[in-house]
Symmetry: C2
Subunit: 222 residues, 2 copies
């Protein structure tokens, strides 16, 4: 059986899981903690990072970028990148926005400080960084709201990898209760739409030991 | 004429320039400073970041990830990603290694602190971060040396986007004299090979005002 190694609350793992569900690709999920630094994880991916996809024939694909592009090439029946060159460029621009810009300005500041830093033995969360991440999130929510109002989904009329990347980061932060949805109604409406996708349901039903999400976390009518 | 907006010393801009040269795609180069925050740059790319490619027909492609994948789809005659699914997965794993892992652990700590922080009015360089970046670079050089010894180029027998991504980051740091090439002879030999590519020559001949590179910077026999 095709295996996907993931870790809880990682936006990059959430992204790959949603892509596989949207494409109807079956897989078995294996939860690993990268901070355990297990040798067999490094044997699969020398970076020691997740997600890692292992196909039935033994093909190993490491990292969300390589996996998402691989899935699009290997299973093209349902596309999440769009069909024309211009559509695909726009989807990838937005994927990059969330996986680089949003990750660097928001996710790393909040999720790393509040959760992963502790696992890695990095000491107390840095509250100044958390405040900076929370403050920087606001203009990203405005941008999500603006795109969703103009286009319905972030890159156009259909769900794409852009929506999945954005929802992966925001859902991980939402687990910590750190997304001020009331700040932008357009972003709120778009996220309600994403929450109702079956591809997101099983991700939202998971719990991390010791951290309880807000009551509205799973509810599409939040 | 096709236009590429870039900024000096950015590894992501260097990557796209090398890809276009290797593929034999003509373009006009326009140098912009993202820290000037010009409105027409934001009109092209709402992230206000570079590189940005503008095709003759007006198609705008923003960001190194979207541009490199776009170029591979639009101009497939010379591939820099490989042909089989497994080859392409390996190239993308390594591109991600340099554009995420190396960028976060090394490039940002050195290049941002020494050069871009000043342009952005961020104050004095943080010497602890520069030391951390320099120290973390060593295991990456070991990995480059290991791959080059096993495979000749980083992802296999042919030059790919993996080599170009790695050389883009390392060449920007080398401009500052911050790469200890003597540390790993295998990485040194691989970089000499990259330096001799015509696609890298015009990048290495450029100078940034106020910063002089080391004497060996352009020399393939360094």
């Amino acid at each position: 059986m095709r295996m996907l190694y993931h870790t809880n609350l990682s936006p990059f793992c959430r992204k790959v899981r949603m892509v596989m569900k949207e494409k109807g690709i079956d897989f078995e999920l294996v939860c690993e903690n990268p901070w355990d630094r297990k040798l067999d994880l490094f044997a699969l991916n020398p970076a020691g990072e997740l997600p890692i996809l292992v196909e039935d024939d033994g093909t190993v694909v490491s990292g969300a970028y390589a996996i998402c592009e691989y899935l699009e090439e290997a299973y093209p029946q349902i596309t999440l990148l769009g069909t024309t060159l211009a559509e695909r460029a726009e989807v990838r621009r937005l994927v990059d926005w969330f996986d680089h810009k949003f990750d660097y300005e928001v996710t790393k500041n909040i999720l790393f400080e509040k959760v992963f830093k502790n696992y890695l033995g990095g000491g107390q969360p840095n509250s100044a960084m958390i405040r900076q991440g929370t403050s920087q999130m606001l203009y990203h929510l405005d941008y999500v709201g603006y795109l969703a109002r103009e286009r319905y989904f972030l890159a156009g009329e259909n769900l794409t990898l852009a929506d999945i990347a954005a929802a992966s980061h925001l859902s991980a932060l939402d687990y910590l209760g750190d997304v001020p949805w009331e700040y932008n109604p357009g972003a709120h409406t778009w996220y309600a739409l994403l929450k109702s996708r079956p591809s997101m349901r099983c991700i939202l039903s998971e719990r991390v030991r010791g951290v309880r999400p807000p009551v509205y976390y799973e509810d599409p009518d939040f």
